[in-house]
């Protein structure tokens, strides 16, 4: 174990890098800003590697713990630590930040320094969310991360960006304010803001239900679960490519992560009582949203709805209370980070050239962009859950867990495999195959080295995780079992 404050570095290094990038000022220094941002993102990624290298997979508790007093007035501490559940997300987040900075390299030409700084700062804040062990610290990072995303959508977004940015911000703020009240309630009853202390706090079922519902509003909006998902398609469609990647790959995971860190262990009885509700909502997301995705004419909207459906799998996995379900859900979250990030990047690649996201404006792209078509194929397949890609592993584990839990739940969940294949591959077919549809497509140039590198790295990750998921699951194993033992032991 390292004695360096690795988690603090993972949080504050990107933020500091973001501030430095901001100092480069106007767009005259754009090349410098880009280079600094890439260096910052890479450095931020490198400091997270030792988290995995030094991780003790046999240990279910918190590792790399940092503890310092922050606001003694309310017993609030700067308390950081990761376990097998959160550690991978810190790394994923740092990794995606590198991708995002690279993805905006030539594409973003307006306010370059601010663009890159926003992503770097957001990356640091989100690392803070994943590694906070203090309720207020978590909340502060959770809410502060809205600010850069609001700006990213609003400044670099599409024509309806103002609406989307406000909807995103207010929707999420609404959820998190009630969450804050639940945190304060827990403090009043325990005298501590430590999440780990709350895990041991005995609470009667009545208050547990209220706490669970307050958590649910915050996390359900963030995930997003049906029926509070409507902000996501708007945000995705209007956000620039980088914004969509971060939203899909990381921001959606925050809500799901919240369920594991807060809802299940703090309100275990309520979680059990309300599990049927959660499973029902998850299945609606999986099936209904899958159908909604099928009819989308806008590619970004389609992938956005597919994200909601995939996140339905995640929440489904959590609330079956089996190791298989929870691990499957976690694998699905990480896999979705790679695949949806790649899907949004692919759409961004086409949008940069044609300036349209409508499926109808494409057709026969394979003729002019063969390399791109091959890689896009892989990600569409992964999105559909093809075996040997990462998309398969998570869904399969969750469905296996569901079969143990209840056949009909598993049956409903399995429908999504068909739907996923339908909407992903049908879109792929309409966009890529066929004759060259119009002169825009005829004039397309294939992906350049930068784009190829980004997609290539993501493709390797997708395949690596699909072929060798043990690397990921062995990290989670002890912590997931610890969590489930804890939850089950506290049910009365």
């Amino acid at each position: 174990m390292s004695t360096y404050p690795l988690l603090s570095l993972a949080i504050w290094l990107p933020i500091a890098a973001g501030v430095i990038v901001l100092l480069t000022g106007s767009d005259r220094n754009a090349p410098l800003a880009r280079r600094l941002a890439l260096v910052g993102a890479l450095a931020g990624f490198l400091v997270t590697i030792p988290l995995w290298a030094g991780f003790d997979t046999t240990h279910s508790g918190m590792q790399f713990v940092e503890m310092g007093s922050w606001i003694p007035r309310f017993n609030i501490n700067y308390h950081l630590g990761v376990d097998g559940i959160s550690m991978l997300f810190v790394i994923l987040n740092a990794f995606i930040t590198v991708i995002v900075v690279a993805a905006g390299w030539e594409v973003v030409t307006q306010k370059v320094a601010q663009y890159n700084a926003a992503f770097l700062i957001m990356s640091g804040l989100m690392n803070g969310i994943f590694s906070s062990l203090d309720g207020v610290l978590f909340y502060v990072f959770f809410e502060a991360s809205l600010i850069p995303m609001y700006l990213i959508i609003g400044v670099w977004g599409g024509p309806n960006r103002v609406y989307a940015a406000f909807k995103f911000f207010l929707y999420t703020l609404f959820g998190s304010l009630l969450f804050l009240l639940a945190l304060i309630y827990l403090f009043v009853h325990s005298g501590s803001f430590s999440i780990l202390d709350w895990h041991e706090l005995p609470i009667a079922l009545g208050p547990q239900i209220w706490i669970f519902l307050a958590f649910l509003i915050a996390f359900a909006v963030k995930v997003p679960m049906w029926p509070v998902h409507t902000w996501l398609p708007d945000a995705h469609v209007e956000a620039p490519t980088g914004g969509s990647i971060v939203l899909a790959a990381i921001a959606l995971k925050l809500g799901a992560y919240g369920f594991l860190r807060f809802s299940l262990p703090i309100a275990p009885n309520a979680s059990h009582e309300l599990a049927p509700l959660m499973i029902a909502l998850s299945l609606i997301a999986v099936v209904y949203i899958g159908f909604v995705a099928l009819v989308q004419a806008d590619m970004k909207k389609l992938v956005a709805y597919s994200s909601i459906a995939h996140m339905g799998f995640v929440t489904l996995g959590f609330f079956m209370f089996s190791a298989l379900g929870v691990e499957g859900a976690l694998v699905q979250m990480i896999s979705h980070g790679f695949v949806s990030g790649a899907m949004f990047f692919c759409i961004g690649v086409m949008y940069d050239r044609v300036h349209s996201r409508q499926i109808a404006d494409y057709g026969g792209v394979v003729n002019t962009m063969p390399k791109f078509a091959a890689l896009f194929m892989l990600f569409s397949m992964a999105n559909a859950g093809l075996p040997a890609t990462s998309g398969f592993v998570g869904e399969f584990m969750v469905i296996l867990g569901a079969v143990q839990f209840n056949f009909w739940v598993a049956f409903a969940a399995a429908i999504s495999l068909i739907l996923g294949a339908a909407y992903s591959l049908w879109m792929y077919k309409r966009v890529i195959f066929g004759a060259v549809a119009n002169e825009h497509v005829a004039k397309l140039s294939d992906i350049n080295g930068r784009e190829f590198a980004i997609l290539g790295v993501l493709a390797l990750c997708t395949l690596w995780m699909g072929l060798h998921p043990q690397v990921f699951t062995e990290v989670m194993h002890a912590s997931v079992n610890g969590l489930l033992d804890h939850v089950n032991s506290r049910i009365h």
């Binding site: 609003g154 400044v155 911000f169 207010l170 804050l180 009240l181």
Partner: protein, 498 residues
Amino acid sequence: MFDHFVVPNLQPAASEIFLLVMALAILLIDLFVKDSRRTVIFALSVLTLLGCAVIQYAGSAFVTGVGETTYTFSNMFVDDLMSDMLKLFLYLTVIIVLFYSRAYLVDRSEMNKGEYYVLLLLATLGMMVMISANSFVTVYIGIELLALPLYAMVAMNRQSLAASEAAMKYFILGALASGLLLYGMSMIYGATGSLEITAIAERLANGDVNGNLLAFGLVFLIAGLAFKLGIVPFHMWIPDVYHGAPTSVTLLIASAPKLAAFAIVMRLLVNGLHPLAGDWQVMLMIMAVLSMAIGNLAAIVQTNIKRMLAYSAISHMGFMLLGIVSGVVDGNARLATEAYSSSMFYVISYVLMSLGAFGMILLLARAGFEADTLDDFKGLNQRSPWFAAIMMMLMFSMAGIPFFVGFFAKFSVLMFVIAAGHTWLAIVAVLFSLIGAFYYLRVVKLMYFDAPQDKTPIVDGPDMRLLISVNGVAVAALGLFPQFIMALCVISLRYSLG
């Protein structure tokens, strides 16, 4: 014949005496200063306030180490840790007000007179007297000493119709509120037989008072206080005065008097009428909810940023009251001091944010141009990324988003609201904060998402730029490290309220 005359202990009021002497001296000096050399008066005013701060600090428990409460002038005037701390913040606030207003006043020569500075110093004196009041008479003198110079300052720009209207409204409503306050005081005097706040508290504790008369008086007293705080339903003057007054005066009205108003709430309701907490809490609770509702909803439809910030001020004062109504729960005052200290922290944070926001309007204003509509903030990010970032921090802080001080202000108040068991009140408060977030976000939207209408470079001097930068950074820094100010609030109230 003079046997009974004892020279009172002047030491606790040393800074007030210094300020008064200096204000009168400045009035005289101004006779010999040419219009072009008005900076001398500005500098003297700043030095006066710095002198006050030094005197205050040297005599305070921060230096002497004795957190003792001293009374003087026949117990009409009190000097305790709370007054020391609030006054130090007051001097800082007024100094910032002076710096922010300087360029604005220089551009508007009809206002850049010696009287302006003298009136401002006298208003400050009024606030100091309010903070240190231990008698109804002193409270009243302080309030009037604050209000009369403000009426004049609002009307200082004689050419402006809006300013004259605002001054008129302010004066009439202010006079009415003073009347209500006096009426309430006279009835409480009738019920308890004393004007001295600490003596009233003793008589209430002994219980030999006329309850009906007392409750009746309390209602009027609360009405008067509500006017000074600017909370619903006594908020009508706030939007008109904030809007109509010259921005430099709005800056003053929107900042320092909130500290003084908080102080008299503490003096009257906590030092004096704490046994009646059950009664005044209900009244303030209703007013707090209405203030948050009307303030936040009305702010949404404003196109003038001064008016928007006025409604925002109403909602902030409503939120601040939530801490004051959460002190005593079913007669148990165990958490009272802590709860009041959260309100004090809220007021101090709010003053800091309000200074920054109005300072930003002054920064964008120039000769012949008031940057007081929301559209004047369009595209600020393109004109000046740094000041846009400062304004963004201020807006997010006002909306209560971390890592800014406004979040911890709201957080600490909510803490005691929930600890007092008023969960519904906390839910109402956060839902109105959510509505409030909309109009703060709109300012950010105008600055960042829209193209500028006006591309004039920002020309203010380095002092203004530096100070407003420090102001903005302080909002962020105190959001990262709120402990120090929070602890100061707790300690000062613990010593002062017992």
